[in-house]
Amino acid sequence: MSNVTFTVNGNRQTVDVPPMKRLLDVLREDLHLTGTKEGCGEGECGACAVLFNGELVNSCLVPALQANGARLCTIEGVSTEGRLHPIQQCFLEKGGAQCGICTPGMILATHHLLEKYPNPTLEQIQEGLAGNLCRCTGYMRIFEAVQEAAAGGAR
């Protein structure tokens, strides 16, 4: 077992876990942050995406020990004081979320995308979200939600 300390959504946390335990499982099982979802468990679908020192990563592929000292943001840290983040509000209004399993990863991937490209082209949106699979929306509504968020919608 290893002691691993990091901050999640601004809160400092220490867990005593097997060092190869997936960060995804640490978040869900040890910290009960179940907003982060497991889809494929192989880094293909993006449902488990979180921000790791500001970079988008798939938490199913991060061993717990490598999160030592990291600054993490999960979907629970995106809204503030019960108010949805503009990206979340745009997904809601544009129908970018349906069954909801891909949504936490989509929101964080969008967050990461808009940090890099505040006014992304459709091609940049498609590339930025290519690692996040959705089986409900057909993606068009998601692209519209991202464009709306980039345009300053729902702020």
Partner: protein, 287 residues
């Protein structure tokens, strides 16, 4: 089924020297893990056989891009995102940028490393064809020192490399000598985003007076390892590009390609597509 994480050991020695000393003490015991985009997939699917791992993900000593007059040196721990953001690589080595951009998704590019892509030694890996075409050199490091060898000598067979059990890949060096070269790369997969290649080809060529004065070709998924296509290069060198040259190049490539049937494609399809890619590259040199 997923492996039980409690069955695996993972340590993160603070420095590269400490990592090298630990693997030198018990050669073969440890497997290095950087971004985890291969080994953690194996863990998740119950296929991870290595029980003792050493994290090298935090080692800044392996994460650098150093531009010198004659070469660009890239640390093995450099991520695909680092590569895509680098202006000098974008200017000199566009094939490396292109192959980094189609190595998995953004989330995987933020974690996956160039060294991991090479040491995982998949014959289908995305960056090796470009590195082979560019004539890259690899530097290996152990507690007793460094050694360098041509990257084309690094892959010895299916998932077998020249790394000794006490060694790590330290860096990849690519010469800066391709002014005026035409550059080509194409990957053929099931879809455009995030697919593992069925076959991929990278090539660079220098044309002087309508004659191929230099040509270098690397390929993925044409053999049990990433390969430099020496027979095709030798056949094409010094020739004018015309229909006969294209036919000769295709035949030479077919003679050295040893593709297989697997879940992603068939040997016949791979061989045919590889020849078509070579032809597309050669025709691009005509204009």
């Amino acid at each position: 089924m997923r492996s039980d994480a409690a069955l695996f050991e993972l340590e993160a020695p603070a420095t590269l020297d400490a990592v090298l000393a630990q693997i030198a003490a018990e050669p073969g015991k440890y497997t290095a893990i950087a971004g985890g985009t291969e080994l953690m997939v194996a863990l998740g699917t119950g296929r991870l056989v290595q029980r003792s791992l050493l994290s090298i993900q935090h080692l800044d000593e392996l994460r650098f891009i150093r531009v010198e007059d004659d070469a660009i040196h890239i640390g093995a721990g450099t991520t695909f995102t680092d590569i895509r953001r680098d202006a000098a690589i974008a200017e000199d080595l566009p094939l490396l940028i292109q192959s980094a951009s189609w190595t998995g998704s953004v989330a995987n590019q933020n974690r996956g490393t160039l060294g991991g892509n090479i040491c995982n030694a998949s014959p289908a890996a995305d960056t090796p064809p470009a590195l082979l075409a560019y004539g890259a050199t690899v530097t290996l490091i152990s507690a007793i020192g460094k050694r360098s060898l041509p990257y084309s000598d690094f892959h010895l067979g299916y998932k077998r490399t020249a790394l000794r059990p006490d060694e790590l890949l330290h860096s990849i060096s690519v010469p800066r000598e391709f002014d005026g070269y035409r550059q080509y790369i194409r990957k053929v997969g099931t879809r455009n985003a995030q697919a593992i290649s069925k076959v991929a080809l990278a090539g660079i060529a220098l044309i002087e007076g309508e004659v191929i004065a230099d040509i270098r070709i690397g390929a993925a998924s044409l053999a049990d390892r990433p390969i430099r296509c020496g027979a095709a290069e030798a056949t094409l060198l010094g020739r004018r590009i015309n229909e006969a040259t294209i036919r000769a190049g295709r035949a030479a490539l077919a003679s050295e390609a040893k593709p297989i049937d697997d879940i992603r494609s068939t040997a016949m399809y791979r061989a045919a597509v590889a020849e078509n890619l070579l032809e597309e590259f050669l025709r691009s040199l005509m204009s």
